[in-house]
Symmetry: D4
Subunit: 256 residues, 8 copies
């Protein structure tokens, strides 16, 4: 729920359109709705600027479906991440027209028009195998109103391939770099541009990549200062941070 | 060296004030100056928006002094981090009026007026022991033109102390959270605000804090999405990212 | 078997009701019953105050069933933890009316009325995904006579949701906090109350949560002193400690 | 500051003995006192039942001295842990009659009579080398009003030595077990008694003890359920938990 | 093949019973037989005193079957460890009367009477779940001619259960202790006896047992000196060491 | 594509055989071909001397098939590693006569005659279980034109078996040692010869081998200087390095 | 104190030579002597066959001196390990004629003639840097009555050097192998002989040897079955195990 | 000692110049010279092509001096690595004109003219702080007859600086890349050239670089196949491998 909507409701109450009993009932629901196994935070949208997101891992298909229904009924947009096709089947029974992106593992449903944010966000992957994590970033970014695009398979093994995209790098306000193995792509790109770089290590690789520890450490120790590191495979978090950065522009303009 | 300065030089060449030989010589030095044990990147300022920074750890006092002198001679501002008092003594011999912040471990020298960036940056520490890392952030931020301030010793053990500062949190464009032990402060603050949070784990603590692994993992696994995690004790990196974010937004504001 | 029962048997022997041969035979069985692959400790109830518990992991369904039967025949209550539905099926064949809690992974059977302990125990989970571990605590607590309840999904990302339950926190004699990811909930709650907090890290999360290492380290390094940390996913242990704490009250009263 | 003291002040205000201005000023200081590098939590005593404790590690001697003075001026008792003799020297300059326990690394000063708690607390160490950590527990316990004693050097290598103390074990309300190496002492003692056991792994040992990881893991994985595990070398935390347990039981006894 | 057999063959050659060509051919096969994917070491029996053992993990059922056949054809006894039932099926096709112990995961076939060694070997397990590893030790010990027996489920949580077996412990020449979780059983038993103790950590447990790291570290750091530690789950190695120890008796007698 | 081929094309253009439009189009494709989820690097052959290799892990069968087809159409040879039989089925649909080596997990197709390199490369495995990784090395080596052979199952447990092959070791220009468990074979062989040794740790073993960490550390810490260590299970990398070494001979001759 | 001595005392009591009061007093001291910070186990000699050993690390010089004096007064032999020269100075004040071996870090004093055990024990080191740990084994072995010798600097890098000593290896009843780096020496020697091998990893090396983790893992994962692994740098433990083995065999020989 | 020298001695013996007794005595010394704490391998030069190297870490200054003297007396060249200035002082007393390179930590002495090998070896460092490790490589390479040079401070943060040296990269036969932090330089350079790359991770950095684990993992997981990885800080090993590669190619060239 957007802040605007809240102000509207308050005004309608002031004008007598909504009786006291109703607005009280409404605010009672505001902080969160208790459905015993989960507390849904319906005014998170107002506080954070984006809706309750369901992290599906370790939740039962049934639980995800019930939470999803509550969110959509409340009139919010829905984003569920790390969702298996089994979870999608369960949600679909409750909400027939939800959308599922299998590569990204996301379930989405749009109730309200998404407010567009200024600035370009670019996702860059080191290899074909990093695409699932990148897709989670892409879908999340779109749900949050980002102007977001993706370039795949630009590893540091071929610096010439990478250099071809230099203009794209420079024109982006935020770059999300998604890489497994040694994770060096984040350093190389961050060394080429002025904008903030968000680095997501992936669990791609084998042996001494230790399910993503290798690129995680590489990104944390980058010789380029100020790279924002995310948890392994956390494509969702990267897009969230990009959103928070670009969302700050409005505040900056006002306080100026 | 600022971009403006470069444009000035080019104009002076165009108008015949500087002969061709000199400008060629000048550009030859541009990419980097080779002093055998280090390559100084004099046009980094132009590319990244901030000067060559010397990371002092594992360099000899002599090496730091020589690099410092070259940077200052070139007309750039100087920032050296993780500098011991012994290194400061060495640099002082070459450049008598450099400044040293012992708590922060920084050596600074200002040649050119620093360009101010819009937006407020707030540094929050969990405990008194985190102040050295926070001070590194503070000095770095000041050198990069940030409007940056610091609040100390607000741990999650006393949520009421923390809540007293809620207004300060909300009015900041970027918050840098610096915490050791369990590192939970980043999550709690990020749960209260919309702006981006940069989290720096510190090596403060003992036993199972494992020199900062505990808060590092805590911050990477935060239940609040989109926290930008830095390397352990990397106060410098946090201020660099804050700079990149505000610099990127500043450009966006103009192009808007 | 309760201590009272033992005293009764001894008195019946003294009064001649039970012949010497029988009481000798009885005591022979006391220390433990040997069924080749397991030693059942029938007088543990007397020593510890609670019955033999079967930890099912790495035992065959057959083994669990045989041990269960022996325990129930001896007249004790039964609690089996980390039990799969396959193990439940096996036990059911021997003891048709055992109860199974699928979420908690527990098998229970009550032979003797459970003695109630004073004081309230509260279980708090950080997220919906922590419920299985919390349920193991809940069932264990009920089998041990605790007045125990559960509040779910109160993460530190929303301090306001958490604060709503402050009165519940304060009125509890012991709080069990169950959390994955960064595990910060234990610190925040322990910072609000005087009573002991028992913290259970869970293996919920992905990437750098490393199957529970992240919350485990977070809880061990809490800035709030005196948090009792359990093994990862050890809901059973947490309830056991709560029992031991509240069970000490009787001793305290007597020795007073 | 004890709760009783607060009630007294409030009553004196009610009776007109203290003017409104003064009580307001008094409460203003209540939440915490800000001395720039630290926030002292003067009403923690009221909330938690024990005074602000200074964790000296990573604080400068100067900082510890200033915080100590503030605490003592406020009329609270002082406990500083992990204090080097250098820190003690610094504090002594400000507060000449503080006491220093070199083995325990503690600095103490008693302003108010300490309220005694019911129940016996027993500290048991596995070896002579664990005594410093045990001493930290002992001093902390004394400052918190515990009836606390210490038995040293009872390792599992000599079960007969250990068994000699069985009566002492049984008569304790809480046992704190302090052990390095394999940390097995916690399991063996917890297997003999009904009361809660608090286990503190120490960094004693060499090679594969990995500075306390070995006993930490051993204690977390104990085959005896419900052992409360502390951070490595955290003698202070163990006594804090013992206090919270007995304090909680004390309240329960009254409300019973 | 036993040393005795070798001497017989040599004598038969000396007496002319075996022609030179045959004995040459025989010795050519001695060092090892090359079957492309494996080198079978047929005179290992002579050098080490026990036959080639097949470690089945990571070998295909087909490979195990072929190697087994070669060994048996050569007239040696066969022991295959970590064998799945699938591997057993494959071997059975080649050698119909091999024996399979499912709990131990061993395949055995006896061609030659096993030479008995003096001394008693006792296997002790901490819990029912450690029996598979203990069974591997038991079967290995029997194949090597040890007088070996097994006592199960004697954890340190019940020292009284353990003490019941003190006489068994003292009468053994070598004790193999097999334990997961904290692995403290090795220390407790080694503290009671003079004979060598061989400790095998098992991967039993969950969470912070980290698949056996916890008992492995516990055993390496035992406060009782001279415990022989094996790899995690290495029941085979423990019996091999017991064999080497008792096998040395003959040498000791001769050199006496 | 070989360098020779490139020179031919250039000459044909010079002579007018190929019009300007075509050669431009040709060079446009040179750097890489963009198929959205992957960038195929068609002139890698020229730069590195060997074709684009597809690392199949974490790619979908469909993706591997499409990339394979593109590579073969371009006229290059194909090598795909870590390929499951499922991936092979998918590729086969597009390119019916590709070859699959199940043990090695490789898919190959030869378009151009492979240029032979001088020198002998020997692969040595410590055990039968290391053969899959060794086979990946073997197939890779053959595709790169190496004169490469394999000797299996020569562990350090039987130094006499190993010594039998001393002549083979000495006559090789490069030796690839593939070993799991303690990985000592690399040290022993490197101690016998002058030529470079490439060591590949394998994830063979159990318990404290930690999926290859044990041999990886063993090889990195070898007491024989200059062993080239590869990632765990990286048979492909070992053959690649052998190729690079022997391929340098031409350069050496020219510059001589 | 030896068993013989105990029997003598008992006989003297029986014959009236020692009055009842004295023998009671004597037995009171038997289990252990309590000196507040340590419990000295005076009848350990009887139970284990060797005297109380003082592990000096983390004990103060004063503590070691007091314990040493008590042990010597009781008439036992003394062995203190990991003793710095500072500790030696302290002990010397109490017992002027103790001996100190600086390389081994041992303090010794012989009160009673040491009983010799049959069999030869051989210590083998991989490099010169392993000698301190080996010396601890040597001194310990001598104090325990072993016929023990040392061969130094036989690494696997030079198999020919190693083979020169094959006869020495074969004639030993127990071999202690002490090695850092990759720790392969244990496997190679164990592959050559039938007798038990005790392996001690040392913290010698740098980088990825991780203070002894590399050889520790190598030894635990040896391809030769039944190697007895000790803690890192635990030369004392190795000699203790050698003693237990030969002591056990000695008893067996007698009972045979 | 060179092979040539050996042949000469043999010829002089054949011609009667050297009597049988002397040559026997000579060969007795050949395998190694035993100086109790070390075995010096005088014919290593013949077997490996380079002289005995002394790894000084964990050796006493005295030990290094004695070994050095023996090596030089035998007529070999001397190389000692990881040598402190204290060790240098000790060696200087025995051999007054040895040379010491403080940055590299090497002691050298040249007895025989070093045989030059064909091909160029290039050392590249990522930062000024990597120079000590690089210097160890440089000195080692010079002692082994390599044509070896060094370029410093070319990190991936400035790809343009790196590209300036492309020609140097391409003209090298072997490149040694020395880098700490994320270690990405190895991948980037290996992606530009055909020749073998040897990568040395350094312990430079802080926090999550974990003393070199971060670059070590990065290099092992490089997306460029066939990078030869060395132990952390092992500059000596890198030069040794470069020598073995060029030595092997040199032989191949001749036999071609």
């Amino acid at each position: 729920m957007q802040k605007d909507e809240l102000i509207k409701i308050l005004n309608r109450y002031k004008s007598g359109e909504i009786p006291e009993k109703d607005i009280l009932n409404y605010f009672e629901n505001l902080p969160f709705e208790d459905i015993s196994f989960a507390k849904i935070d319906h005014h998170r949208e107002m506080r954070f600027g984006f809706p309750e997101v369901i992290f599906c891992q370790n939740k039962t298909p049934e639980q995800v479906a019930i939470i999803s229904e509550k969110i959509i009924k409340q009139g919010s947009n829905l984003l569920a991440t790390k969702a298996s096709s089994k979870i999608f089947e369960s949600v679909k029974k409750y909400i027939p027209d939800v959308e599922y992106n299998e590569t990204a593992g996301t379930i989405t449903y749009i109730n309200n028009k998404i407010k567009k944010l200024p600035g370009k966000v670019l996702i860059v992957t080191a290899g074909t195998s990093d695409i699932p994590v990148a897709s989670e970033s892409l879908v999340t970014g779109e749900m949050l109103g980002l102007d977001i695009t993706m370039i795949n398979d630009i590893g540091v093994a071929g610096i010439h391939r990478l250099m071809e995209f230099r203009n794209e790098f420079i024109s982006a306000s935020v770059i999300i770099v998604i890489a497994g193995m040694e994770g060096a792509l984040a350093s190389v790109i961050a060394g080429l541009i002025q904008s903030p770089v968000i680095a997501v290590p992936t669990s791609i690789g084998y042996g001494a990549s230790f399910n993503g520890i290798s690129p995680l450490l590489g990104m944390l120790n980058s010789c380029v200062p100020g790279i924002a590191v995310m948890n392994i495979d956390n494509g969702f978090g990267a897009a969230s941070l990009a959103f928070k950065i670009l969302n700050s522009l409005d505040k900056l303009k006002t306080t100026d």
